[in-house]
């Protein structure tokens, strides 16, 4: 074997049997991965598949529980991001770490050797940014820059270290298509110089366009390694979400009256990082569980805000609850029509951490149960006794484990608090329940308890909307499934006719309606 052949055969970075345990939970399990010099390598996977954990280990933010990292064939331990940089690994995070009040040059200088002068850094940054097609003014203040420009700072900052491997975490999730195109050109340039890029994404089209090899993760394990150009989006999606079709055992409930109807709902994004909702239409009937699948950050939060009325929409008729146009009605007005809501975030949204459970019950039900919980007419004196009794009832029905009679919400574990928050709504038998990520970060026992409760509620004749990223959960509870992607909602399909592969395709942003099974338009 000659020397040059040897160099070709040795990958820049190899990972062997890398495992990361959090308690007994394996976020990454026995990961093998090879990145050759001068390739753009994709790391594909759903949310929670273990991509971030893997990358954090490669960049020294987390330490692996087991396994080996080889750099140019040599086993290395990467103890900190600083050591990773010295080794030649650069990283561009999904969430930028920039000081808005400082200039571009100052922000770059912060991550470098303090001995180098600011002028020198600015010069270097300017010439680098020109060379790689990343126009940047070192004197501009970060606060004035667009998201795409901020990302360029992060990239230039990584490039200044002259890295051999650059890791990009979901880089296009914050970019416009044009900005993304420019980024790709930069990546090609880096590749042609012999640098390697590890490109993390869940966007299948993008990966097929720019990557020559891909490693797919699912539930913390490698489920496939392939050349994405040889694959179809469908086959990639299958690897991402698993080829198995979930078995759904549900009694078929005849659909009743329409409880929630949304027609052509468009909501512009409130913040630069938000997602705009575009032309969303859907109908949910009594007895139905409509699950809305989708990768995080595709408009789920915005959809929930619009449905709950925490942010009203100008068109009253765009959202109808039990036939009533409620677009401009606030959350309590909608509750009075029989709707109940469970937000994604438990702490500080669904519950006030520092307040006891009884107060947190009142939080959601002060108006819908006015008669039971308030007295004294205009003065609205709280009947603490009645509220406490109701809280006790909720805890009993939902098997909420707690210490003391009425502990602070923050003292409960995530699963128990979520059971309480869901139970708080179920307790009043809502005609319509809208739940965002019902079992996010909840232990398995509590998760199955909550899912069963949702199914039972629909059986009892309520309409249920479940927004979730967990496909297993969706197939477990749904009668119909729709997918949200980039603020658009697909048509709903009966859960029985849909495969995980289809859902995965829809989640990846491919809206090819002709290849889908027949949609359920006929309610």
């Amino acid at each position: 074997m000659t020397l040059s052949e040897d160099a070709l055969a040795v990958p820049l970075l190899s990972v062997r049997g890398l495992t990361k345990l959090f308690g007994s939970f394996a976020a990454c399990s026995q990961i093998d991965l090879d990145i050759a010099p001068g390739e753009i390598h994709a790391l594909l996977g759903e949310n929670g598949a273990g991509k971030s954990t893997l990358v954090k280990m490669l960049f020294g933010v987390l330490q692996p529980s087991a396994g080996q990292i080889l750099w140019n064939g040599q086993s290395v331990a990467i103890g900190s991001p600083g050591e990773a940089r010295t080794l030649g690994v650069g990283m561009v995070f999904q969430h930028f770490s920039l000081f808005e009040a400082l200039t571009v040059g100052e922000n770059i200088a912060l991550s470098l050797d303090p001995k180098i002068s600011l002028a020198q850094i600015s010069d270097e940054a300017a010439s680098l940014s020109k060379a790689y097609g990343l126009p940047l003014d070192p004197k501009a203040h970060v606060a004035d820059l667009s998201v795409g420009e901020r990302q360029r700072i992060e990239i230039v900052r990584a490039l200044l270290q002259n890295p051999k491997l650059i890791i990009l975490d979901e880089p296009t999730s914050v970019l416009t298509p044009q900005e993304a195109d420019r980024l790709f050109e930069t990546l090609f340039k880096l590749r042609d110089e012999g640098r390697s890029v590890l490109y993390i994404s869940h966007r299948l089209e993008e990966v097929r366009r720019i990557c020559t090899r891909a490693t797919v993760l699912r539930h913390g394990k490698v489920t496939g390694a392939c050349d994405p150009r040889q694959e179809t989006p469908a086959s990639l999606a299958r690897m991402m979400v698993g080829a198995d079709i979930a078995e759904v055992h549900r009694d078929n409930i005849p659909a009743g009256e329409v409880r929630l109807e949304i027609k052509d709902l468009s909501v512009p994004s409130r913040t630069p990082f938000g997602v705009s909702l575009k032309d969303i239409s859907m109908r949910v009937c009594a007895g139905e569980v409509l699950a809305i699948a989708g990768v995080a950050g595709n408009g789920q939060g915005e959809l929930f805000d619009a449905l709950s009325g925490e942010h009203t929409v100008p068109q009253a008729d765009a959202i109808r609850i039990r036939g009533r146009g409620v677009g401009q009605t606030g959350i309590n007005g909608r509750r009075l029509l029989g709707a109940g809501f469970v937000p994604e975030e438990r702490h500080g949204h669904g519950a006030v951490t520092g307040m006891p459970l009884s107060d947190n019950l009142l939080l959601a039900r002060s108006q819908s149960d006015r008669k039971a919980f308030l007295a004294g007419g205009l003065f609205s004196v709280i009947r603490h006794g009645a509220v406490r009794t109701a809280a006790r009832r909720v805890c009993q029905v939902m098997d909420v484990r707690k210490s003391g009679d009425d502990p602070a919400a923050g003292a409960l574990s995530g699963g128990n608090l979520q059971k309480f928050i869901v139970g708080r709504e179920l307790d009043r038998q809502p005609a319509l329940l809208i739940v965002n990520q019902p079992t996010w970060g909840v232990d398995a026992g509590a998760a199955s308890r909550i899912r069963q409760a949702l199914i039972d509620l629909a059986k009892a004749g309520s309409a249920v909307v479940v927004i979730s990223q967990d496909l297993d959960e969706i197939f477990e509870v749904a009668t119909n499934i729709a997918v949200i992607s980039e603020g658009r909602l697909s048509d709903p399909y009966p859960a029985g006719t849909l495969t995980l592969e289809h859902v995965g395709l829809l989640m990846g942003g491919i809206h090819d309606k002709h290849s889908q099974p027949e949609a359920t338009h006929a309610h």
């Binding site: 991550s111 925490e310 006030v352 003065f379």
Partner: protein
């Protein structure tokens, strides 16, 4: 080396109860040290400052007079602070309340009616609320920092009062002194118990306001709304409460009570307007609110304690010959210790002796 504050996992209920007492004790210890450094006998000085005023009936009345505006404003501020709105301008709202409340007895001085006094109190509260509406409007619609705007408005109010007293509202028979016309008897807040001392009805208002606020915070939906929005705005929105409306409520409520305190002080104790109507009651009320742990009943107690520092300052000036600025020193010490005790209840101090790592940031 750096000092880190680490959040404690659990807050000791015992210490959060005794923290104000601890702060008070520390204030006394450091006050004694200060007197010793000034060359005074610390025991005699502390006696003159904190005990002597409590031994005479007339001086207990004076204590009620000093405590009344402190409690009234402290209670309003506590409600406002609980809702996470930071009204620092009670002094200005106090001043404007004193001005609007004095409108009737100064401009319509020959209108004699039993209606004068209730109308004055109403106008005072209204004036304070309207003046507090300025920072509320700025915060609700332009997202300005209410701490800065409400504080800056204090100086505007004080200069406006100065201008009025030296101009339009100067007493025509006052030999050009900057004072207004004296109030007619029916414009003066009556004494509670005239035979024994000067204390007037403002103290009763203060106690009633404290009890009502305590009831509101503890038993009504409004109090619940204030607490929820103050702790988690997003959860408040989920409950259907509006944080914007809460900005208005917090400021108008605390402004109205400050305005009432202002006209109460002018009508009950001073009986005319003059350029200086408050020895910084509005700022001291902030200390009162925190020393009372933002609890209306606790504020009654802390209002009396801070009222005592004013009396003690005056007494110490007479009997041991130190400047009455000592009062401000004591108040400053007290606020400092209250806040640091509270911080230490919620956080642990950790000193990190880390080497500076060169090159790698």
């Amino acid at each position: 080396m750096r000092i880190e504050l680490q959040k404690r996992a659990a807050v000791s209920p015992l210490f959060s109860l005794v923290s104000p007492l601890l702060a008070l004790a520390l204030t006394l210890v450091f006050g004694a040290i200060m007197f010793a450094i000034l060359g005074k006998d610390p025991v005699a000085a502390m006696y003159a400052f904190f005990l002597e005023p409590l031994l005479e009936t007339w001086s207990l009345h004076e204590l009620a007079i000093k405590a009344a505006p402190l409690i009234l404003m402290g209670v309003g501020l506590a409600v406002c602070y609980r809702s996470n709105n930071w009204n620092i301008g009670a002094e200005g709202q106090f001043t404007i309340g004193a001005i609007t409340g004095s409108y009737l007895p100064i401009v319509f001085y020959d209108w004699h009616s039993p209606l004068v006094l209730p109308l004055m109190l109403l106008l005072g509260a209204l004036g304070g609320a309207l003046f507090a509406a300025i920072p509320a409007l700025l915060k609700a619609h332009f997202n300005t920092n209410e701490i800065l705007t409400s504080l800056m408005l204090v100086y505007i109010a004080q200069l406006f009062l100065d201008w009025l007293i030296r101009g339009a509202w100067r007493d025509p028979k006052g030999f050009n002194f900057p004072v207004s016309r004296d109030f007619a008897p029916e414009a003066i807040l009556p004494a509670i118990w005239e035979e024994s001392g000067r204390a007037h009805w403002a103290f009763i208002f203060a106690i009633v306001a404290a009890v009502l606020c305590w009831f509101m915070m503890r038993y009504t939906l409004k109090g619940f709304e204030i607490t929820v929005l103050g702790q988690a705005e997003r959860a408040g929105r989920f409950a259907g409460f509006s944080s914007k409306r809460m900005i208005w409520f917090g400021f108008l409520f605390s402004g109205a009570l400050a305005g009432l305190a202002g006209i109460g002080e002018v009508s009950g104790s001073i009986n005319h307007l003059q350029p200086a109507i408050s020895p910084g009651y509005g700022f001291t009320a902030i200390i009162v609110a925190f020393l009372g742990r933002l609890n209306p009943l606790g504020i009654v107690a802390s209002g009396l304690v801070l009222g005592l520092t004013y009396l003690g300052g005056e007494a110490a000036q007479l009997s041991i010959g130190v400047s009455d600025k000592v009062t401000r020193v004591f108040q400053g010490l007290l606020l400092f210790f209250v806040l640091s005790c509270d911080t230490l209840i919620y956080y642990k101090v950790r000193i990190v002796w880390a080497r500076m790592r060169g090159g790698v940031a």
